[in-house]
């Protein structure tokens, strides 16, 4: 009886009724306040950023980027999440989405205790072109984590703000970055040189002349001297040009090599006589650099100065210098050099031979094409194949007949190249020979190229042959599929191209 009374008191109690009512209201509200699909999806994906399965977190991050704007606020909120992985990926996504609303929160995240978060926040601030973040980013150059420093340098390079010039020059002078020894115990400056390299690159991006002296001082550095040359090339200016001339007389060959590289990047016509002079340098690396650099000067007055010295360089004692000269002669399309380059295709040095082929292919002159076609009889199949592809890339229609005869080459790679090239050149004269070749061709790779070429060339005979191949049960699956794909396009009145098959 006492027990019953207690229960009665319980159920008659006002506060219990109130609680039950609240419970009911909660149930109703839960039904009413169902979130919109996008919002629900974003929240699920933000949660997914913290998933232990890397595929899930990475897919979540990608999906949030695809959603874009509606994900910005939840991602800003996620920068304060307890899970560092969520904060890190949120910081990364905010940079990719590119809404400037995130800038202040990302600046705050630069002080996050977890390096990955600081790293992604700094990079994203660069992506967001957040000039207001320059000062906090400069402070972050002193971060204890090298990856954070590395990403910050990249961000500052993207921002191109001259305020970062001097701090970046200071980074280059620092030697407190890690030195990673490689397996054979010789010191390998991977850690420090990577950060220095990035700082050098960022200085080139910023293009502030105040960085010139620091960069010039680096031209003697075997690790990052060439990067410094590249950055100097982007800064340009009279000051750089003048300083370089003195460096060309340096006793240090690394400085001379890198100084030549700066001239290559600057591409000032005034550098032509200087580079021609450097073709006679005693160190091969300097001559190589000069020979390559001269290939960038294509104006007729410049060619008049460079052509003969480059031809002379074909007689250099070092094959690498000869190859550089061959490449540059191709770039400037020196008519005088054509027979010399044709001769070099027969060279026993494969580097020289390949460079000669690619150089001749760059000419718009039919004499160069003739020289390449004449070399198709080379006994080395690799050379024949390279010539085939070079002729194809050059779009040389003179090559159709010689390529048709290569459909019967003894080497299947050459036959495959010939079929591909014939499709690419687009002359329907090749249809019949390709159909004939398909009758006896055994190699699947060659058959694929032949079928694809027929698809590209089109016409009634090609369609008939493709129909036969597409229904042949004994055919290679991929060959049959290629024929089917081509037929679908051709019968629909479309045009088949190389990408139709992928």
């Amino acid at each position: 009886m006492k027990h019953m009374i207690k229960r009665d008191e319980l159920f008659s109690c006002k506060s219990t009724k109130f609680l039950l009512l609240m419970f009911l209201l909660f149930g109703i509200c839960a039904g009413c306040l169902e979130k919109g699909p996008v919002e629900t999806q974003v929240n699920t994906l933000v949660q997914g950023l913290g998933d232990e399965d890397e595929r899930v977190s990475s897919v979540s991050a990608n999906e949030l980027c695809e959603i874009g704007e509606p994900a910005v606020d939840p991602l800003i909120k996620a920068l304060k999440d307890d899970n560092p992985q969520v904060r890190s990926l949120a910081a990364q996504d905010l940079g990719i989405i590119g809404n400037k609303k995130a800038i202040n929160s990302l600046i705050e995240s630069l002080k996050d205790p977890v390096p990955e978060v600081r790293m992604n926040a700094s990079f994203s601030l660069g992506e967001l072109q957040a000039t207001e973040a320059v000062e906090p980013l400069i402070e972050l150059l002193n971060d204890e984590n090298e990856q954070v420093v590395s990403y910050t340098i990249t961000a500052l390079g993207i921002l191109k703000d001259p305020r970062a010039t001097e701090p970046l020059c200071e980074v280059i002078k620092r030697d407190d970055f890690s030195v990673i020894p490689d397996s054979d115990s010789t010191v390998h400056y991977e850690g420090s040189s990577s950060i220095h390299n990035e700082a050098v690159f960022a200085l080139g991006e910023i293009g502030d002349p105040r960085a010139v002296d620091t960069l010039l001082d680096l031209l003697d550095d075997k690790e990052i001297g060439s990067s410094a040359a590249s950055s100097l090339g982007r800064i340009k200016g009279e000051y750089v040009f003048g300083k370089l001339i003195k460096l060309l007389d340096s006793k240090n060959p690394t400085i001379r090599t890198n100084a030549v590289a700066v001239y290559e990047h600057i591409q000032d016509p005034a550098a032509v006589p200087i580079l021609v002079r450097m073709l006679n340098d005693q160190v091969p690396e300097v001559r190589i650099g000069a020979a390559y650099a001269l290939g960038h000067f294509n104006e007729s007055e410049e060619i008049a100065q460079t052509e003969q010295p480059l031809i002379n360089a074909l007689g250099d004692s070092k094959v690498e210098v000869q190859a550089a000269a061959v490449s540059s002669l191709g770039n400037i399309e020196s008519k005088k050099a054509i027979p010399l380059l044709a001769e070099l295709i027969q060279s026993k040095n494969s580097n020289l031979c390949e460079t000669a082929i690619y150089s001749l292919a760059r000419y718009k002159d039919s004499e160069a094409a003739d020289a390449l076609i004449a070399a198709l009889g080379n006994e080395n199949w690799h050379i024949r194949m390279q010539i085939v592809y070079s002729l194809m890339e050059a779009g040389n229609t003179q090559a159709v007949d010689p390529l048709i005869s290569l459909l019967g080459d003894e080497n299947y790679e050459v036959r495959k190249g010939a079929a591909t090239a014939l499709g690419s050149l687009g002359d329907r004269k090749a249809v019949e020979p390709i159909i004939k070749a398909l009758e006896t061709e055994r190699e699947s790779d060659v058959r694929i190229s032949e079928v694809q070429a027929l698809g590209i060339l089109g016409g009634p005979e090609a369609i008939k042959c493709l129909s036969r191949v597409s229904t042949d049960k004994d055919e290679y699956g991929y060959v049959r599929n290629s024929a089917e794909k081509a037929l679908v396009i051709l019968k629909g009145g479309g045009t088949v191209n190389a990408s139709s098959f992928y």
């Binding site: 008659s12 149930g27 039904g31 999806q41 299947y412 049960k473």
Partner: protein, 282 residues
């Protein structure tokens, strides 16, 4: 029990029943009306096309849960929420296209949804599909997918090349699969018998793989035949024919029978070739 207590209990129960039925009875009227998968083989991606009918007037968001959508060579079935991908994805085996399950918006009437399927070995797989909304199953159904066996065949052919005093036969072989499913590690043996002496003069064994409705050349190296048979009418050429691994050299009167047999699980197929052919003469 006091009357007031009974009234309180009744009111509370009524309110709970009404609230609960209002909340939980609010599920959408969605039915699976059709499921169909075109035939495909083991190792290939397949698609289960599902027709979902939304009988409500308003669009609804639902999730699909699919059991046995992917089963690996060890019979392990993968959980589907991460494997269901949209119709415009390309390759379900590519990790990059595997996405989290997204809600599917169903408009009034019939809606088509495709789900990727994939099985590494032939067999029958019951694919169970559940349509879920807010943790509630709206409908479920099962579709039996049949993954057929490969159908293996062998083909041998030869090409004669006369070199000085020798007849050099280049033998080409192909493992052809007319079935939809691929066959991995097909054990293939070559036996060469000298028909003049009745003795086996050469044997070799190799594994090959062939895709569904595809063929594989029996060879060690691209661009080279499966075997070489040299019949020397004078001094043998002495050529090693590298990198061709199957080389048989005979004399003037020799005739060879090449037998190739392939085995994959319970399937056995073979092909024979006489060299020189009966009608062939020098």
């Amino acid at each position: 029990m006091k009357k007031s207590a009974l009234i309180s209990i009744s009111v509370v129960l009524l309110v709970l029943i009404l609230g609960g039925s209002w909340y939980y009875g609010n599920g959408a009227d969605v039915k699976i009306v059709d499921m169909h998968a075109s035939p495909f083989g083991a190792g290939d991606p397949g698609k289960l096309n599902i027709t979902l009918q939304n009988n409500g007037l308003k669009p609804v968001d639902v999730w699909l849960e699919v059991e046995n959508a992917f089963v690996d060579e060890n019979g392990v079935s993968y959980s589907t929420p991460r494997l269901i991908i949209s119709d415009n994805s390309t390759n379900p085996w590519d990790e990059g296209t595997v996405s989290l399950q997204r809600p599917i918006k169903l408009v009034h009437g019939n809606n088509s949804v495709s789900v990727w399927l994939g099985y590494k070995i032939p067999g029958e797989y019951p694919v169970k599909v559940r349509v879920v909304q807010n943790g509630r199953i709206l409908d479920e159904d099962t579709y039996l997918v049949n993954i057929p066996l490969p159908e293996l065949h062998l083909k041998l052919e030869s090409e004669l090349e006369r070199r000085n005093t020798s007849d050099v036969y280049k033998v080409y072989g192909y493992l052809i699969n007319y079935g939809l499913s691929s066959a991995d590690k097909v054990s293939t043996n070559l036996t060469v018998t000298n028909e003049r002496t009745g003795k086996i003069v050469f044997t070799s064994s190799e594994f090959y793989s062939v895709g569904g409705q595809d063929k594989s050349a029996l060879r060690a190296w691209p661009g080279y035949p499966y075997a070489i048979v040299e019949i020397a009418h004078g001094k043998p050429s002495g050529d090693s024919y590298k990198p061709i691994p199957n080389v048989i050299v005979g004399q003037n009167e020799d005739r060879f029978l090449l037998n190739v047999t392939s085995r994959w699980q319970d399937q056995v197929t073979s092909a024979e070739l006489h060299i020189p052919a009966q009608e062939e003469g020098r």
